[in-house]
């Protein structure tokens, strides 16, 4: 009985104390910047061969985020989906060695802003635009 009581106190009490300690320890941890949600384009500079892909208006972006892993969906003519990573405030993503996206997040703005550059394999020019974040809950099934 005594052995069982001591074991109970050790196996239940110590983990509970450990949880409180870890919660205090983890309060200082920093997670990657939140970029999930929709990013609406504001202004663009595109010309020539890029206009065939993005049209006159740069595409709206929807980002699904899992830590540093990102899935970027564009509402361009091809409904392109790029996968990439977040490194600090810099985003790099690509789609099948055909489409590359580079972006920098501006955390000082509210809501966040992003400077985006998109390049395509068979086009020497790049399209650049800025986008504003519209955060959304990540609660829907995978989009098509």
């Amino acid at each position: 009985m005594t052995k069982l009581l001591i074991s109970y106190l050790l196996l239940v009490g110590v983990p509970i104390l450990g949880v409180f300690g870890l919660l205090r320890l983890g309060a200082n941890l920093a997670a990657p910047v939140a970029v999930a949600g929709e990013w609406l384009p504001s202004e663009a500079a595109s010309s020539g061969c890029m206009s065939g892909l993005v049209g006159e208006q740069p595409p709206k972006m929807t980002i699904a985020q899992s830590g540093r892993l990102l899935v970027v969906s564009l509402n361009d003519a091809n409904h392109s989906v790029l996968t990439g990573k977040l490194d600090g405030l810099a985003i790099s993503a690509e789609s099948g060695s055909r489409l590359w996206l580079r972006a920098a997040v501006d955390k000082s703005a509210d809501p966040y802003l992003m400077q985006v550059e998109l390049t395509v394999s068979d086009c020497p020019e790049a399209v650049q635009w800025s986008a504003t974040r519209v955060p959304v809950a990540q609660n829907q099934p995978a989009s098509h």
Binding site: K3, L4, S7, Y8, L11, V12, P15, I16, G18, V19, L22, L23, L25, G26, A27, L29, A30, A31, P32, V33, A34, V35, A36, A64, Q65, S66, G67, R68, L69, V71, T83, P135, A137, Q138, N139, Q140, P141, A142, S143, H144
Partner: protein
């Protein structure tokens, strides 16, 4: 309802695939529910959306998913009500002390390891929109869950509900279930505290009043229904309708209080009187519709949200492996050691540990809540779904290996294929 034809096709396809995969899983001595969970994954972007994106888009167009989601949620409410119905305080009689030790250890040890894991994965798999405390508490809870219904089904199929191992396992799982859902309700309350219109103290007071009302006056009122049933020996449609309204009202109240509708459905089942055949008759009326028709829709909806493609590259698979190992070490290790300390021989303690390690669909329920409230990222959701599948899948073969084939095999004969399929 413009999407009715699509919805009907979706339900038909989900049912066919769920029954088919469930049948195949029964052939390899896995519970039907394991096959149905896998069927949901197969219908999602992880397989169908990957090999036949056109068919996937046609079958599950984004704009139709709201209907599928609503139906699956109703099914889940009914299912949680049925899980609550299965909880009988008599399970604890005469074995409360050992079950209490095992169940508490089987919660605290995996919870601690889950929080420890959270310290490592928070900077890698979460983002700044989720606080570390919420994230860690949720990961801890997800490691602590035991699938009480699946465990009960396995014990029942092996005719060991009344064995020493069976009674301790079922009692421990019952305590674990109630404690786990209380912890989850607390975590959801914390996470949603900033979003609800009610101040936190009002919500907390409301939850205490709600639980007190359910345990005392409501329980007494429900005992009268039991008395009516004992007199008439028939569960009338009026009584059934009243109970369904009771479940819906309880679910609505807990959702309004901010601790999730599923908790209300679960508690509604838990407080119903268990003395007579009343609960059995009620379960018979609801079980087939909830388990055969509606639950596979929940698995399909979970599958639609699970994208194994997100777990790509060595780094992501490393995190997945780590999550699975921590889950097993905490639950299997903690339960086994607690059972051993409580006086069980090692082999029996190991069998209990592997039973408690079964997470099954209860884990999927919890993970969907985590995704809904934004605590889990899509990739982490997928990793935890894989953990739930692996820990559920491993139960039957390991139990066979460490227990049935070596310890009194004549006492627990392998049952013939169950035509009902061993439902969850």
């Amino acid at each position: 309802m413009p999407h009715l034809p699509t919805l009907l096709i979706q339900i038909g396809v989900v049912l066919v695939v769920a029954r088919l995969v469930g049948f195949l899983f029964r052939k390899i001595h896995q519970p039907q529910v394991m096959g149905e969970m896998v069927a949901g994954i197969l219908l999602g972007p992880s397989l169908l959306g990957w090999v036949a994106p056109g068919a996937y888009s046609a079958l599950f167009p984004s704009e139709s998913l709201g209907f599928l989601s609503s139906l699956s949620q109703i099914g889940l409410l009914l299912f949680m009500f049925l899980v609550g119905l299965e909880l009988d305080p008599k399970m604890l009689q005469g074995r409360g002390r050992m079950a209490l030790v095992i169940s508490h250890v089987s919660i605290t040890v995996p919870f601690f390891l889950g929080v420890l894991l959270a310290v490592y994965i928070y900077p890698r798999l979460s983002d700044e929109s989720v606080s570390f405390t919420h994230f860690a508490l949720f990961i801890g809870t997800s490691m602590s869950i035991t699938a009480f219904p699946v465990l009960a089904r396995i014990l029942s199929e092996r005719r060991m509900l009344h064995s020493r191992l069976g009674v301790i396992a079922i009692a421990s799982a019952a305590i674990n279930d109630v404690t786990g859902w209380l912890i989850l309700a607390g975590v959801v309350l914390l996470v949603r505290a900033g979003d609800t219109a009610l101040p936190l103290w009002v919500t907390l007071a409301g939850v205490v009043v709600y639980i007190a009302c359910m345990l005392f006056p409501v329980r007494s009122l429900l005992a009268r229904l039991d008395a009516i049933y004992q007199r008439k020996k028939v569960l009338s449609q009026d009584v059934l309708a009243f109970l369904l309204i009771f479940v819906l009202a309880s679910s609505w109240l807990t959702e309004w209080l901010g601790i999730h509708a599923l908790f209300g459905a679960f508690l509604a089942g838990a407080v119903l009187p268990k003395q007579s055949g009343f609960v059995h008759a009620l379960t018979e009326k609801l079980n087939d519709t909830a388990v055969v028709l509606l639950l596979p829709l929940f698995f399909a909806f979970t599958g639609l949200r699970t994208s194994i493609g997100l777990v790509s590259g060595a780094e992501m698979w490393f995190y997945t492996t780590l999550i699975v190992l921590v889950a097993i070490a905490g639950k299997f290790g903690g339960s086994t050691y607690a059972a051993r300390v409580s006086g069980m021989p090692w082999r029996e303690a190991g069998a209990l540990g592997i039973l408690m390690n079964t997470r099954g669909l209860m884990e999927l329920v919890l993970l969907n809540i985590g995704l809904d409230i934004g605590v889990l990222s899509p990739a982490l959701f997928t990793m935890l779904v894989l953990m739930a599948l692996i820990t559920t899948f491993m139960t039957a073969p390991i139990l066979e290996w460490i227990y049935f084939s070596r310890l009194v095999p004549q006492e627990y004969p392998d049952p013939e294929a169950d035509p009902a399929g061993g439902q969850p």
